[in-house]
């Protein structure tokens, strides 16, 4: 039992955070709890502090609107937070689509859905192009372009305020990940993930690799949703450099030799 908890310690923590945040937001609307109200696009803590999705605020700027200072400050707070704890930590510790994507990934493994080399290949850089398109379309159309189609937003708004036909978007992401491309949405398409990945290059909390303990078993490569970030594993000790690592900690969980773990990489100016 204790071993099981250790083996899934980060997964358990992540799910706790994801579900707790969604539940608090749900209660904020359904029961009038004031601790955390709104949704993951913008929210208010204890009736005092406003938080906002920095990518959404960026799109609104591009759309030509100057939002009130509350939202700007709120966006900066979130930006600063994820700059410290890891850009794409949002993806594995907060985002509700992560539950859908992880389920699809687990099913892919369990049902052995594998093209054996002939799968559709989508570049992991498409998400950065999607950021460009988002900003460009927001400029042209005068409205936040990604927020208008985001399945992440449809899912958290759906859970908190009512799904409507939003489940179709969630199902689409699920089926895409299950049948079309492994880690398709989160790993290739999502511009919000791309945005946080760009932030994540500079984050402090990162996954660290100890080459001396590594036996090259490759279990981390097997489990990682962004295996391209593990290029130094087995070759060189140090921190995972890429912002595309989403700090999910699965590599640390599956490594029997404790060669992977979390650490704080201070900027060289300080150390």
């Amino acid at each position: 039992m204790h071993g099981m908890i250790r083996e899934y310690r980060f997964m358990i923590s992540r799910r706790t955070v994801q579900i707790a945040l969604l539940f608090l937001l749900y209660a904020g609307n359904a029961y009038g709890w004031t601790l955390f109200v709104g949704n993951l696009s913008s929210s208010k803590i204890a009736d005092r502090l406003v938080l906002a999705d920095p990518f959404a605020v960026l799109q609104i700027f591009a759309a030509g609107a100057l939002v009130s200072s509350e939202a700007v400050v709120g966006a900066f707070i979130v930006l600063l937070f994820f700059l410290i704890v890891g850009g794409r930590s949002f993806c594995s510790w907060v985002c509700p689509v992560n539950l859908v994507a992880d389920l699809a990934d687990w099913l892919r493994k369990s049902l052995r859905i594998d093209g054996g080399g002939s799968e559709l290949r989508v570049s992991r850089h498409v998400r950065y192009w999607a950021i460009g398109l988002t900003i460009g379309l927001s400029l042209l159309l005068g409205v936040a372009a990604f927020e208008s189609i985001s399945p992440i937003a449809m899912l958290h708004r759906g859970i908190i305020f009512g799904m409507g036909l939003g489940w179709t978007a969630v199902l689409a992401v699920f089926l895409f990940d299950l049948l079309v491309v492994k880690n398709g949405f989160c790993g290739h398409l999502c511009p919000l993930g791309g945005f946080y990945a760009l932030l994540g290059r500079y984050s402090l909390v990162r996954v660290a690799h100890d080459k001396e303990k590594c036996t090259l078993c490759m279990r981390c490569f097997d489990i990682c949703p962004e295996p391209q970030v593990l290029e130094t594993v087995g070759k060189q000790s140090g921190y995972i450099q890429s912002g595309e690592c989403n700090n999910c900690g699965r590599c640390a969980e599956v490594c029997d030799e404790e060669a992977m773990g979390f650490g704080i990489r201070f900027p060289s100016a300080i150390t």
Binding site: G28, N29, G32, V37, G38, N39, S41, S42, S43, K44, V50, A52, D53, A56, V57, I60, A63, G64, A65, V67, S68, E70, A71, G74, S123, W129, G132, L133, G136, L137, L140, L141, G142, V143, A144, A145, E147, S148, I149, A153, M154, R157, G158, I160, F161, G162, M163, G164, L165, G166, T168, A169
Partner: protein, 258 residues
């Protein structure tokens, strides 16, 4: 090289489809926004779709548009026939908006002491319009439901009394909406007794025309003041009026345009 072209092509085509979808999604003329909302285009630009206004509404009048609602997705709106705006004095939905898509200054008065006071009566969420064919009061039946339900009774809705010639015994007590006071809350629509409400709230842009300045309303002393100082010796000259009126019939090409 081909990959670049392919990538660019994919970007352009998906951008066009995406942009087309978003642009179409913006057009929903029949949407009623919370009080203090900016005009629709700036509103859609600023609304971050957080739902703080929805959570704040004590009557659960506001909802966030879900896919399939035929409204701009994620934005707050209300359906008066279901749950009208109850015109809360403290307007909890407006100050809570983090981006300013709901602007408190649009529902604020400056009182004599120069202090800013919230005034829900300044809200302009829409305008109530009446279908006279289905409204039973216009049939001659005494109803009065919308008039009584209106929080601005005798300002936004007044009763026009007139004689019912058909019976000779009764009066028409017909409701009339006044656009300068109507907030668009929809309490009237909710109160209306007909199968489909005969008084209903439409967005102001749809419900209203725009007056012309060309006629001076002589019965209105204010409007007559517009004639003050206007010169009386103005003669309009056109090509036809250049010649003498008598010569008009003597022109060769009478029927052709000059």
């Amino acid at each position: 090289m081909f990959r670049t072209i392919q990538g660019a092509g994919l970007a352009v085509t998906s951008g066009l489809v995406w942009g087309g979808y978003v642009h179409e999604g913006k057009s929903a003329p029949l949407v009623l926004r919370p009080p203090g909302a900016l005009p629709e285009d700036p509103f859609l630009a600023k609304c971050i779709k957080c739902g703080l206004c929805v959570a704040a509404c004590p009557y659960d009048a506001l909802v966030l548009a879900t896919p399939g609602d035929h409204q701009p997705i994620g934005t707050p709106y209300f359906v008066p026939r279901k749950v009208p705006c109850r015109m809360c004095e403290d307007i909890p939905c407006v100050p809570v908006c983090p981006t300013g898509a709901l602007d408190p200054s649009l529902v604020t008065d400056e009182n004599e002491q120069g202090r800013h006071v919230l005034n829900i009566n300044r809200a302009r969420m829409g305008l109530a319009v009446i279908d006279r064919e289905t409204c039973v009061a216009y049939w001659g039946i005494q109803c009065d439901a919308c008039h009584r339900a209106c929080p601005l009774l005798d300002k936004a809705i007044t009763i026009d009394a007139s004689r019912n010639e058909r019976t000779g015994h009764h009066a028409f007590l017909a409701p009339v909406v006044h656009s300068d006071s109507c907030t668009g809350c929809g309490l009237c629509e909710r109160a209306c007794i007909t199968a489909k409400a005969s008084i209903f709230v439409l967005p102001r842009k749809l419900a209203m025309g725009e007056a012309t300045n060309r006629y001076v309303r002589g019965w209105d002393s204010e409007d007559e003041k517009r004639l003050k100082g206007v010169s009386t010796d103005v003669t309009t000259r056109t090509r036809k009026s250049e010649g003498d009126a008598v010569d008009y019939l003597n022109t060769d090409d009478l029927m052709s345009p000059e």
